[in-house]
Assembly symmetry: C2
Homo-oligomer: 236 residues x 2
């Protein structure tokens, strides 16, 4: 039976989840095994994925992806970019969802070019929990309570993350990434975000990247690394 998310989850917008919902239940399917009635995007139906990049990772969307995509639509309605993200905190032992955080694109609203939906959600989760590593959260390290010794987080994004957000997801050590629309969907006429071009640029020699890039080393260029090697440090 569907039920409301319990009141202790930090959200002002109740949505329905299944009583037995465990995050690990989400698994890739073959395209020929789409369950009858499953909600999938036109992009998937039309197989608008021109390279092998996405092979074997398709899953049927769930209520969390619907929430991420609803946030993306609401973001446009409030003059933000068309992107939304949700981070789930999951109890390691049971797979039960403990909390979630949401993010919307706030680049224009906050005049911060780094305020993409995923980065905004990561910052919110890290600030709440008081950790920089969302991949393994111990009871001792966390500012918020959790039932078991360890928990971890996963992220849903309405669109395939740009390289900034993808790398932020990896630095935050999120255990899984689910996205709906692809970089190709975001590049179509009338939408025209340059994620696709930016991914291509990353594989191009610096001399041909369309803006000035210089490697200008100095005598002290490697001092910080030398000091880092011999310092007591927190590896992150």
């Amino acid at each position: 039976m569907p039920r409301q998310i319990p009141g202790n989850l930090p959200t002002s917008e109740p949505i329905e989840i299944r009583e037995d919902f465990r995050w690990s239940a989400l698994q890739p399917l073959s395209a020929s095994a789409i369950p009858a009635g499953a909600e999938i995007s036109p992009a998937w139906r039309e197989n608008l994925k021109p390279d092998g990049l996405y092979d074997g990772i398709e899953a049927v969307g769930d209520e969390w992806m619907r929430l991420a995509c609803d946030l993306a639509r609401e973001s446009v309605e409030s003059k933000g970019g068309p992107f939304g993200a949700v981070i789930l905190q999951i109890d390691e032992a049971s797979g039960r969802i403990l909390r979630y955080w949401t993010g919307r694109n706030r680049v224009v609203l906050e005049r911060d070019p780094t305020a993409h939906a995923e980065v905004t959600a990561i910052r919110a989760a890290c600030a709440s929990l008081g950790v920089f590593d969302l991949g393994s959260i111990s009871t001792e390290a966390s500012l918020l309570g959790q039932p078991g010794e360890r928990s971890h987080c996963v992220i849903y994004s309405s669109t395939e993350p740009c390289p900034m957000c993808y790398a932020a997801i990896r630095w935050a050590k999120l255990r899984a990434l689910c996205f709906a629309a692809t970089r190709h969907d975001a590049a179509v006429p009338g939408v025209e975000f340059s994620d696709l071009a930016l991914y291509d640029e990353l594989a191009t020699p610096y001399a041909r990247r369309g803006f000035k890039v210089l490697q200008c080393a100095t005598g002290n260029s490697l001092e910080a690394f030398e000091l880092w090697k011999r310092s007591e440090k927190t590896v992150y």
Copy 2:
């Protein structure tokens, strides 16, 4: 004659710049044309750049790169990661430097995995100026004064930016990027940052990226893009 940076520059650490300093003077050199006495890194001398990625972008470092590398060393001394960055605001007509902002790696200190030096500097500059586009700053849009109609910003980073920071630099529309150490310098034993591996990962199909990635679309996946197409919007 060297002189102190004028007092109206927002810095607590005066450094020397040349009276005639214009940013556009910084240009790539051929490796055979290194001026006598120029400060360059061991990495450059030993040509530790195994692919064609860096060809033709070498320049002789200047005081701003020395500052970025000093910030990186100071960051380690204050328990941060070994990375520093400087953003310069430049008057479009004259090439004169108007202001600068600094950033250090604050991931551990702020428990924010996105608080790399470059991202921190970009956020600081955008917050001061009240703009999300550092590539073309008009007098009307800027919260801070400027002598001419237009200015723009460039960034110095002590190390080649990771994909997160590189993409942040492109989204912020910075006009130029100067870095000293490379992703290879950051990967050596004892330093061991995974920028190199992360760049390689970005070119790998999602099914083989070492963490779970799913494309899980839903019926509402493209609603935000459809609304975006027909909305009045600020393109960013």
